[in-house]
Each structure stands twice: as structure tokens, then as C-alpha cells.
Amino acid sequence: MNTGPFIKQNNTTGKMMKNLFLALLPLLIFTFYKNGLLPFIKGYATFYGMMYPLLLLLVGIITSYFSEYFYFRVLKHQTKVEIKEELRHSFPIFPGLFLSLIVPYNTPLLLMVFASFIATFFGKMLYGGFGHNLFNPALIGCFFLLTMYGGYIAKMGGYFNTLEMDTVSFATPLSNAQGVDGIGSYATLVAPYGTLWDFFLGTIPGALGETSALLCLCAFFFLSFKRVIKWKIPAFYIGTVFLLTLCIGKANGMGLWYPCFQVLSGGLFFGAIFMATDPVTSPITSIGQVLYAIFLGISTVTCRYLTPLPEGVLTSILTLNLFVPILDKIGSMQGIAIKKVAVPLLACLFCSFLLIQNVCLKYAKKDATDSNFQIIDKKTMGKETTYVVTQKGNGGLIKIEFVLEGQKIKTMKVLEEHETDAYFQMVMDAAYIDTLLQNQEKIEEVDTISGATISSKALKKSIMNVLKEEGILR
């Protein structure tokens, strides 16, 4: 017998999924434009190359659809009619759809089939199907893909589409940042990819559909307004990452651009808005959601600085998925009980915050004291200070003498070097030392000499190190 209530809100799971798909649509179009159309127009991609992002999408969706079909047919022995009914309530295309937005551009189609199958079959169906999975299916698929075939895909070109391979082919922003332990200047971290505006728009290298923070943000407002997603999660997640990296940036003398750079890269917006809010694998209680998001933020930042994983979003979400029941347990405590938990919890949060801060500061110090640099002699006479230092080049140590007056380096003289002659000659020919001295206020932006990178870099570094020693450069 019907026990009421006898009216129901005009909202169904199906409608929510439809809205989710609508929110994803601009991203799909964008990924086609950025990774397919644009390279094609500019002549970097063939027609096949242009269609490739769409092909990945199709393959992902079809595979995940048939994985579910396979599950019901082979494991559950259901009839075709039953399966049709099951599939109507189980939204079989979503794992594949999401997956096709988070894989690298150069994923071979066969591997896409593999990943999509893992995502749907192992990540979703074996847990009991829609609504019962513990981990986000798409992330599970991507995780397997990257851990098993990441190297192979990287060799194929990794995250770069054909256009990017030709123009900016070094590394994705965060891998590049990791090269300098995450701490660097605007010139090294952001400039190679354009401006922060490009990061916001999404015209930077990255996984297929997750680069555009702008579109993700639009989707966030749309989905929050339609009450499809738990808005607290992206808000607190991105907020936490912003705050933590702001502190780290400040501790290392970097401006507001630094936290912006950090939140705009590595698919954080996409992950926070679409993956972390997956209803099935995120907490039900609002306290649980806030905690989940904060821990996601902490975990992501930790990953970026302290582990070899440059992005940390995928790993963090999968890890935190595991803690959802516990977070909900905390979130569902009533009255006094919550006060009991609140203190240790806050303490725990505070400690992890301190830990990150500390470790990052240590990093910063390590970075400041270049191990290739050594001061041999330092004399002060009146206003002048003379340094004799060594800096490692490509052929051993280069011995250099600096004379400083006040805040400025007056002269720089190479006393001894064992560099490859041809290279060093190039440096001298380019009057590189003069260039360096003239631009010592913005030394970080001076380019090295291509062809003699190591030697020229060593010279540049030595100046930077001396300036740091004097406290002029941070």
C-alpha cells in the first residue's frame, strides 16, 4: 500500500543525469575544438586527427554501454527485455563519457576500450551497479590506464595534441612545475603556456576535456542551480587548494598568481566539479561533504609537492572515496557527539596543514641553496663586497669573481672554467655576461643561450645565487 507522501518533487534521477550531460556538452565541444578542429585548421592534424577526440568519446561510451550489457547478460543471465529495463535505470554511458574527458589525447583506441571496460565492469558493475560503487568508475578506469600504460602513452605523445606537440612540447604545466619542485617564477611556471588567462580558458596542454576552468565553472553554476551536484564539495575543495598554495606561495615570495596557477592547472576544476561530486561516491551529510572537500584539497596539494604525481586530483579523489563512510559517520553525529569529534578533527586538520607548510618551506630552502653552488671567499671593503664562488657547469666547476656595490653586481669575472670550448665560446661571443649584468633586476627572465644551455645556465644561476646570498633576490 502507498504510505505517502502522496506528492513527489518533480525531479528524477534521470533528469539529474540529463542535466549533467547538458553541463558536459560545452566541454565536449571545447575538447573537439581545441584538440581536433584547431590543429586541423592550422594544418597540424589530418582529418582523422581532427575526429580523434570524438572517436575516443564514442569508443568510451560504446564500450561502457556494452560492458554493462555484458554484465547483465553473462553474469546475471537476464533476458533482453530485462536488460533494457535495467540499462534505463543504470545510466551506462556515463563512465565512458567521463573517461573520455580525462584521458590523454594520445590514448590508443584499444586502450580506451580497455579503460572504459575496467571503469564500467570493475569500477561499477561488480560493486553492484549504479548507486553501489565505492570508487568513481571513470577515475578507476583512468587510474588503471595510467598506471599500466602511462609510460607507453607518454611515448606516443602523452597529453599533447598535434598542435601542442609542435609548439609547446615540453611538459604539462604541473609536470613542468614539478621539475623545479613546484616553486618557481611566473616566467618558468606560467609564461611557457601563455598567461593565466589561457589557463582559465583552457588553451593549455592537459587531459582531453578538463583544461577549461571557465566551462567547468559555468557547469558548476548550472548544476548547483539545478541542484544536481553537491556544491559544497567543489567550493571547499578548490578553496582549500587555493589557500594552501597561497600560503606556500607567500612563504616563497610569490604573488597571487601562484595559487591561481595551482588551482587552474592539473584538471582541478574538472575534478572538483564533476568527479568529486559524483553523488554515489561522495558523502551524504553536509559536514561530511565539507570535510571530504577539505581533505581532498590537502591531499591534492600534498601530492603535488611531496609525491611524484604532478596533479594529484585523480589519486586524491580515489583515496578519499575510501573514507566517505567514515566522513559520513562523523557528519551524522548528533549534538554533543559532534563536539567530541570536532576537537581532534580540527587538530588533525591543523596538523596536516602545518605539515604541508613545513615541508614546503623546507623545499623552498633547499631550492634556495643550490647544491651546485659554493662560496669560496667573501670580503667586504667599504661599500664593496667581493665574492669568489664556484658553480657547476658541464665540465666541472666554474670559478667566478663578483664585485658588488650596494644592491648591485658591478663586475663579474670568470676565473677558471673547464667547459666545452665551443659552447663556452658561444656564451662569450653573445656577450652573455653583459646581458646578465644589465638585466640583473629581472634575472629570472633572461633566456639561456640555446646550444650552450648548461654553461649559460650555470652563469645565470651563479648570479642568482649570489643575489640570494645578499638577500636581494628571494
Binding site: M1, N2, T3, G4, P5, F6, I7, K8, Q9, N11, T12, T13, K15, M16, H89, G129, F130, G131, H132, R227, K230, P279, V280, T281, S282, P283, I284, T285, S286, Q289, D328, K329, G331, S332, M333, Q334, A337
Partner: protein
């Protein structure tokens, strides 16, 4: 403010007021511990004492006629002999004790849905604030509205008398926002009673819940009952019934019931006797269309009517005929909507998940559920979350 906004649908039943005060039979359900003091087949008058319920309230005959005690079915049946009784308005003054025994003997209980004996509410400690609940936050129902429209001045006079007798310092009439007609009427009529204020509350469900009202109007919280803070909340129809007892010594024998819903052929408000069979009144108002659920109470908290047995009770606000639902339950997607909107701030989805896990239930506190039904209403997967919570409640009681 936690709550959901529901479509009001009040206009449906506001077109007409009907009277059905002369039913051929009335039936009074008698529970196990109630005492029947009348002998079988005796002839009674309207208002005659037939027995006493275990909560102390008298069982009064709503009509004059012949009583049959059908013990096996646990009902008192009274066959109408169509004798009328007149009530005259008197002016007497009462002390607090006299007043309490008056409303007790008049059989007055909460008419907003709970049916709690009113004298118990008022006999307690010192009351300084009276909140008159005229919110009717469930859709369709307009019984209180109709009662106010007919008796506004009388009700306000009653409130003033109550305040005198019980030494209540201030009182509020809580009405729903955006009801200009009601607001204007009440404000004009209360202008000569400075201690009676009309407050508008947001158009949210369950705004008519005592806790929400006290929170909204007095900005305070209580644990079990509002009397802890010196506050009493009474439904406006109950106030009206008290007034009838005070001024006319007329007990609670009839009330206004809303007959409404998309499937009600002739929606209206009907004055009916307590104890009238619902089926009888439905026949009188031209009945319901096919394929409908007939519900007693609001669409959120009401229950399906058993047409063979159910009768009008003092707490019956409405009879609704709504389209049958055939939603299919789907898997819980853990969207958290039920939890976010639960006015008791518990986690229905988690309670449902842990129905058979006593230690988890202890923490999840299903007993705080007020059975408002929001969780089931809002669930996109159309899960009967409230039923699960109520089951869990039972489970907790057993332990």
C-alpha cells in the same frame, strides 16, 4: 530555515462551503483502555457523556440518538434521531482551574493533526507566550482558513480571553506569507488588541511544525515541548473550539474538513460532525474520480483512507483525492537531498542503509524524525525514505 516550498493548491477547495451536520449515523472508535459508561441501546442527547478516553478526555455524543456498542469492532454507533440542540452565547468569567476543567469536559484536543488533549497543554507551568498556528503548511488544506474567514472576530476575542484567564503576556497569530486576504482581515481585527500580533512566516513546509514556529517567532529552541520556554502553540481551529466552549459551553462535536485534490469531483470545505463516516460525506460531495488515492490528512503526512471504517476525528483536517502514483523505486544515488532538507537534521539515507544495524542506529537517532515526509518527497530515486526511517524508529523502540 530548513524546509521545502510546495505548491499550495489551496484555491481548489476555497470555492464553496458545505454543511453535512445531520448524518444518519456516527461512529466513535473506542480503544482498548477507554471506558464506556453508557449502557447499550440507551437514547442520548447531543453532548451526552458516553465514556472517557485513557488520556482523560470525555467521549461525547456528537448527535442525539440511540447508542449501540459494537464491542467486537470497538466502536460506538449512534443512530441519529435528528433532535437538535441549541447553544446560546453567555458571558461568564472563569478562573484558570475552571477554564481547564471546562475545556477538558468539552473534549477539546489539537485539531491541527496531532489530537493531543488541549487541557494538558495549558495546565502546565506558567505560560507567557501563546502562538496561534494558522499556517496550514500542507498543500490543499484550507480548513483553518475557512474557520478564520467565518469566525475571525470570535477567534480573536477568544485569544484575548485566554490571555486574561491564563495571564499570558503576548500572543502571535502565525499565518503564511503571501495570503493578503487573511493578513488584512486579521490585522484590521487585531488592531484593538495590542498584545495580539499577526506574524507572517515563510511559505515553507514544515513551517507549521511547532519547533519551526517557535524558532522563527521566538528565536529559541526547546528539547521536547515548547512549554519548557513558557510557550504554548495551538492550532487556530482549536482556539475556535475553545471559544465555543467558553462562550457557548458547546463541546467539540463538529469541525470543518477540506475535501480537495485533483481527483475530487466537487472540492469544498464541509462542516461535519465528528464520527461521520468518510464514505458518507464523500457520497454527499459527489465523490471522487477513478484511479485515485483517497487520503486523510495532508498530502505529506496523511494516510490512505480505509473507506469501510474510517470516520472523521477531531484532528482530521482534510480528505484528499489525489492521482495514484506509480513511481518506481530506483537505487539510492546518495545525492544527499533527503539529508540536506530534513527538518530534524538527521540523515534519512544513512538510517535507511543501516536499518538493521543497532549501533549505527543509536548514533543516527531516527527517533528525532517528525515523519514530515520531506525525505520521500524530495528523493529523486523515489525511494520511500520515511518508511525506512519509521521502521528504524520501531527497531530502536524494541531495544
Amino acid at each position: 530555515m530548513i524546509g521545502v516550498s510546495l505548491k499550495k493548491k489551496k484555491e481548489i477547495s476555497l470555492k464553496k462551503v458545505e454543511y453535512y451536520l445531520d448524518p444518519s449515523y456516527v461512529y466513535l472508535p473506542i480503544a482498548g483502555e477507554d471506558i464506556v459508561s453508557i449502557t447499550d441501546k440507551s437514547v442520548v442527547k447531543e453532548g451526552t457523556l458516553l465514556g472517557r478516553k485513557k488520556n482523560g478526555l470525555p467521549i461525547l455524543s456528537p448527535i442525539s440518538g440511540v447508542v449501540t456498542w459494537r464491542q467486537d469492532e470497538e466502536i460506538l454507533q449512534i443512530e441519529n434521531n435528528h433532535e437538535k440542540k441549541e447553544y446560546k452565547e453567555k458571558n461568564t468569567s472563569y478562573t484558570k482551574e475552571e477554564f481547564l476543567s471546562l475545556i477538558k469536559e468539552a473534549g477539546i484536543c489539537g485539531m491541527g493533526g496531532a489530537g493531543f488533549p488541549t487541557y494538558l497543554k495549558y495546565q502546565n507551568a506558567k505560560i507567557h507566550t501563546l502562538i496561534v498556528n494558522a499556517v496550514e503548511c500542507e498543500p490543499y488544506i484550507t480548513a483553518d482558513f475557512a474557520c478564520i474567514m467565518e469566525n475571525a472576530l470570535f477567534i480573536i476575542k477568544t485569544i484575548a480571553s485566554l490571555m486574561d484567564i491564563l495571564e499570558i503576556k503576548e500572543s502571535f497569530i502565525a499565518i503564511k506569507a503571501k495570503e493578503p486576504l487573511l493578513k488584512e482581515k486579521l490585522i484590521t481585527l487585531t488592531s484593538t488588541y495590542p498584545k495580539v500580533k499577526v506574524v507572517e512566516v515563510p511559505n515553507l513546509y514544515p513551517m507549521g511544525w511547532e519547533k519551526s514556529l517557535v524558532r522563527y517567532i521566538k528565536h529559541t529552541d526547546y528539547k521536547k515541548l515548547p512549554i519548557e520556554k513558557g510557550i504554548v502553540v495551538s492550532n487556530i481551529s482549536t482556539i475556535h473550539a475553545m471559544g465555543e466552549a467558553l462562550y457557548k459551553e458547546k463541546p467539540l462535536l463538529e469541525r470543518i474538513v477540506t475535501f480537495s485534490g485533483e481527483k475530487m469531483k466537487n472540492p469544498c470545505n464541509v462542516h461535519v460532525k465528528i464520527g461521520t463516516k468518510i464514505k458518507e460525506i464523500l457520497d454527499y460531495v459527489e465523490g471522487v474520480e477513478e484511479n485515485s488515492d483517497i487520503i486523510m490528512g495532508g498530502p505529506m503526512m496523511g494516510k490512505i483512507v480505509d473507506l469501510d471504517h474510517d470516520v472523521i476525528l477531531p484532528s482530521t483536517t482534510s480528505i484528499l483525492a489525489l492521482p495514484k502514483q506509480n513511481d518506481q523505486e530506483e537505487a539510492c544515488i546518495k545525492c544527499g537531498k533527503c539529508t540536506e532538507n530534513c527538518p530534524s537534521k538527521i540523515a534519512p539515507a544513512l538510517i535507511r542503509e543501516n536499518k538493521n544495524n543497532p549501533s549505527a542506529l543509536k548514533r543516527l537517532n531516527p527517533n528525532a524524525c517528525i515523519e514530515c515526509g520531506i525525505c520521500s518527497y524530495i528523493c529523486p530515486s523515489k525511494i520511500k525514505v520515511r518508511d525506512a526511517v519509521m521502521e528504524a524508529k520501531k527497531e530502536r523502540r524494541k531495544q
